[in-house]
């Protein structure tokens, strides 16, 4: 470990740091190390200057989970080496800055795929573990933490601990999903999923209510590898919760006659043009005029009709990357929400309450005339990680524009929806949160878990060097 450090708190280190939802911006001193020595240097600098350190990967959290206003941000995105890969066993070891995109591109041609991916491929492994990402297969596969064999984590003291289910298990189950409060992942070993084709068999069908989508997902969960629902949040009355469900299944051995080709990276990539002519990069600009209630009502209605008429009960073959990474499909689509940005409210509700709770959330939104432009519905299973967001039930992720004129209304709406979640025994997800109050966050997580996490934080970070704006907002920095 180096004794001298070239890291200083100079003015040229100050950068604008923004949430992915563009709803929060702040200035921080940003350091991007490439070695563990440099990470230790940042912690030493923080200690010697009375500062705190917030961890950041690719910055894809919608809110302030990877922000630390007026203080130090430790950005791990430059630590992006694949350290070891076994194409026979599917076990890979990587640095925390390796992204999901880096990962699948590296392994797919050997017949492997990451067992859990988020809707965007640009998140880093460190960030993915920090929030314990889930995918469209959470009900079957669980979160990414289930596939971590072991990791090394540097505590703010500079000590590096190796963790697994048998070695330092308390830290293993707390750091995964611990949103960067306990230490810095420096080395992560995961096992991948064997695939026999670069294609998935994808089906779609429309549903007419929340009750129908809940029931249909339950019927299919045992024989579908992926399921995701889109909800038209503009529909009302008897059609409240209508939407479209996409399911997908891996192809079995022998079902793909050209696996060597379908497994090629080039055959997974989303084409940069539409119909070979229109650059996909321009689509985001075309979205802007529709980014309002009228436009989005029309788009949602059109999507429902298209699904009902054209897609219902058909099956197509689609590359993994195109099915999985829907958020990457239109480059810079979120810029249609400028200048205020967007917030996402995602809640996880127990199975027997979800239909009622989600209907109530949509009704509250419609009553306040702040209607989510996008609603994504998933089935989940509980997991064994300490600061988990998962339940045996469903989640609904709702995207809201966040403007100067509506932000007070959005804050009030989020407060109302959060109360409904807490009353139903539901949970929240720190990767998506921007507006929860401490009261709601704590009620969702449970004081017992918070207490256990705080005790572990006291052991790992007694000087409270690791902090983010989210940890301050929701948990008062675990003081």
């Amino acid at each position: 470990m180096s004794e001298s450090s070239s890291y200083q708190l100079t003015q040229d280190r100050r950068e604008l740091v923004e949430s992915w939802g563009m709803n929060r911006r702040s200035i921080s001193y940003v350091f991007r190390p490439t070695t563990t020595s440099q990470i230790a240097d940042v912690f030493r600098l923080a200690k010697s200057t009375g500062r705190t350190v917030g961890l950041r990967g690719a910055g894809y959290s919608y809110g302030d989970a990877s922000m630390n206003a007026e203080d130090i941000v430790l950005d791990l995105s430059r630590m992006k080496r694949i350290l070891d890969w076994n194409p026979d066993s599917g076990v890979i070891t990587a640095e925390p800055g390796v992204t999901i995109q880096d990962l699948w591109r590296y392994i797919i041609e050997d017949g492997w795929w990451p067992p859990v991916v988020s809707g965007t491929s640009f998140v880093t492994l460190g960030g993915a573990l920090g929030v314990n990402i889930h995918g469209k297969n959470n009900y079957k596969a669980g979160p990414i933490g289930n596939y971590v064999d072991e990791f090394e984590i540097m505590l703010p003291s500079g000590e590096i601990k190796r963790c697994s289910r048998t070695e330092n298990p308390e830290l293993f189950f707390a750091a995964i999903g611990g949103f960067g409060m306990l230490g810095v992942f420096t080395r992560i070993t995961l096992h991948m999923k064997k695939v026999h084709s670069g294609l998935l068999s994808v089906g779609a069908y429309s549903t007419n209510s929340f009750g129908e989508i809940v029931e249909s997902l339950e019927e299919r969960r045992s024989h579908c590898d992926y399921m995701v629902g889109w909800i038209d949040c503009f529909s009302t009355g008897a059609k409240l919760g209508r939407g479209l469900v996409h399911t997908a299944n891996y192809l079995g051995p022998g079902e793909d006659l050209n696996p060597a080709q379908t497994l090629r990276v080039s055959n997974q990539e989303i084409s940069p043009t539409i119909m070979g002519v229109v650059p996909r990069s321009l689509l985001g600009k075309f979205l802007q005029p529709f980014n309002n209630n009228v436009g989005m009502l029309a788009i949602n209605a059109a999507k429902y009709v298209q699904g009902e008429v054209m897609e219902s009960h058909k099956t197509v073959l689609q590359p993994h990357a195109q099915f999985a990474f829907l958020l990457d499909y239109v480059p810079d689509w979120k810029h249609a929400y400028k200048p205020g940005g967007l917030i996402q409210f995602q809640s996880f509700i127990p199975y027997d309450q979800s239909e009622r709770v989600f209907a109530r959330q949509i009704e509250l939104s419609q009553k306040m005339r702040i209607i989510p432009f996008l609603g994504v519905f998933k089935r989940h299973q509980p997991d064994e990680f300490l600061m988990t967001h998962a339940v045996d039930g469903h989640s609904l992720a709702l995207d809201y524009p966040y403007t100067e004129s509506n932000k007070d209304g959005v804050k009030f709406l989020v407060e109302q929806m959060a109360r409904v979640v807490v009353e139903a025994g539901g949970r929240f997800y720190c990767a998506k949160d921007s507006l929860l109050t401490s009261e709601m966050a704590r009620a969702g997580m449970g004081e017992d878990r918070i207490e256990r996490f705080a005790c572990l934080k006291q052991k790992c970070d007694p000087e409270r060097l690791l902090r983010t704006d989210l940890s301050r907002r929701l948990y008062d920095g675990f003081k």
């Binding site: 702040s26 200035i27 206003a69 007026e70 203080d71 100067e404």
Partner: protein, 250 residues
Amino acid sequence: MKLDQKNVVLVGASSGIGAALAKVLAGKGCSLALIARREPQLIALADDINHNAGKTLARAYRGDVTQYETIEPLFDQIARDLGGIDVLIYASGVMPSVKRDEYCFEKDRAMIEVNVLGAMAWINVAAKRFETARSGVIAGISSIAGDRGRASMPGYITSKAALDAYLESIRNRISRYGVQVTTIKPGYVDTDLLAGAKTPIKAISPDQAAREIVSAIEDGAQVRYVPGFWRWIGMAVKCAPSFIMQRVNF
């Protein structure tokens, strides 16, 4: 830019227009960093604001705008204390009385140091930050006096003309990054600077000036005369032939 609940740094806050601005901004729920040399007045103002608000909105920081090397560290400290800075208002200024036939370099230097160099020291730091942040507001309290050189107070007029040029230059530099720079040009305002002197046009109160300044900032004005009618007077003074200006004493 609406100023509601913004984080505001107010330099020259202990009296006059600065103190009045502090109260108007506190009424909008702004978190305030109040800077001035006169600590007792500053603390009294902050206490009054916080008492009326029922919570801590205002923080007092003793600062001398002519101690240039202290400004950047103080600015950084304020940013940490407030959790960010959205607005800088420079309201510090001196206008020592100068007789018609007086040539006093010490007085002139004091005016340049406070009215110009102090402003540049604070605004440079804020401009750099706001350029990085791609947002923010800088407002400088200048004066209609800077519109034309006049016989009555060369030093003061020069300082305000320099401040006008500096603010315009900064505006031209950083407005492209989404930063607003507003030059405020008050006419007669009933503050210590006037020291109760008789004025040909009735002076407005600091409170009225403060309200109009806040409006100007929220309107996104680049230059605003306060009150607005001074714009026409300024235009007339600027257009007046030199042979007339060389014969008048105001």
